[in-house]
């Protein structure tokens, strides 16, 4: 929560999009796309090194054979 009188920067606003991983709202322009599944993810749910979303980060197999039919959350 911001102190009164301090205008929140746009990247801390509630935003218009809902993160499918954490269910929080975030501004569209801070959205990341997971390198594995191309799904939208908010910046806090992005695993920074591999740039994947939290569920995809649990799968260490990068070959195409591991492409899951399900998206485990």
């Amino acid at each position: 929560m911001a102190k009164r009188g301090f205008l929140q920067p746009w990247w801390l606003e509630v935003g218009t999009e809902i993160c499918p991983v954490c269910d929080h709202m975030y501004p569209y322009e801070t959205e990341y796309r997971c390198k594995k599944c191309d799904g939208p993810v908010c910046s806090t749910c992005l695993e920074p090194t591999r740039k994947v979303c939290t569920p995809c980060s649990h799968d260490n197999d990068d070959s195409e054979d591991s492409i899951d039919i399900e998206f485990e959350v």
Binding site: L12, R33, D62, I67, E70
Partner: protein, 261 residues
């Protein structure tokens, strides 16, 4: 280096089945920032707290509710939420075909390339058929636990699947009132049309490059070495003159530019 497929599916058109792989057709090149704690410069973390006490509530104790009235919530448990997810399947059902221009541009969301997964003959035949008929297929599939609808089209002989926005997502201009204020005069409209026509040209994507991104990266590189350049403040000067004279001056300036070129 070839891209890795993000998903595998099977196109189903009537009795025809065609296994395909999905590839992202879009590459994000933006300069990406993380939110940091100002003093320590570490990435911030987030947690849910009870607003009064400030105490953290762990994820396993968090309940999810839909607010039906202010202060009144219907709690949905994990099992119920799980049941709402669509059943996983690899099918991409194509239920119908519509003419290419039938879908308004605002509905196109994100494009994917489809590549053949095995059989190539049917793949290229379908692309050719779509091009010949100048149509797009309406497709439905489930991916990432979400139900998608999309447009299946052909581009230069290859298949492209674009996700489509749903009805509630697009705000149509005709739902909104037109702006108030004075209407422009006929003369002003003619002059504006003239100005617009002088600026008409071809659309060539190669004309547009993201130079700003380079500037930002350069600035960051310098800052990282401790040589942050001083940046001038942004000034905007706006003079108000009559619309007529501004239109006339613009047209004159363009004509002069054309003669000089």
């Amino acid at each position: 280096m070839a891209a890795r497929a993000i998903w595998k599916g099977e196109l189903k058109i009537g009795t025809q089945k065609l296994p395909v792989k999905l590839y992202s057709a879009v590459e994000d090149t933006s300069v990406r920032f993380h939110i940091l704690d100002g003093s320590k410069r570490n990435r911030v973390k987030q947690r849910m707290v009870q607003p009064e006490s400030g105490e953290e509530v762990e994820t396993k104790d968090i309940r999810k509710g839909y607010e039906i009235e202010p202060g009144k919530f219907v709690i949905l448990d994990d099992e119920e939420l799980e049941k709402l997810k669509p059943a996983p399947t690899r099918d991409i059902e194509v239920s119908g075909f519509i003419p290419i221009k039938a879908i308004p541009q605002q509905f196109y969301e994100r494009p994917y390339f489809l590549g053949p997964d095995g059989d190539q003959r049917d793949y290229f035949a379908l692309a050719r058929a779509l091009e010949n008929q100048q149509t797009e297929g309406i497709a439905h599939w489930v991916m990432r636990n979400k139900a998608y609808s999309g447009a299946l089209g052909a581009q230069d002989g290859y298949l492209v699947l674009s996700t489509l926005r749903n009805a509630g997502q697009v705000i149509a201009a005709d739902e909104l009132p037109k702006p108030d204020g004075h209407a422009p005069t006929k003369k002003e409209i003619e002059m504006a049309k003239h100005l617009v026509s002088m600026l008409e040209g071809e659309f060539d994507p190669a004309d547009y490059k993201d130079e700003y991104r380079e500037r930002v990266l350069e600035f960051i590189a310098k800052k990282a070495k401790g040589h942050a350049p001083r940046l001038a403040a942004v000034k905007t000067k706006r003079t108000t003159t009559s619309l007529d004279s501004v239109l006339a001056k613009s047209i004159a300036a363009l004509k002069k530019g054309k003669h000089a070129a």
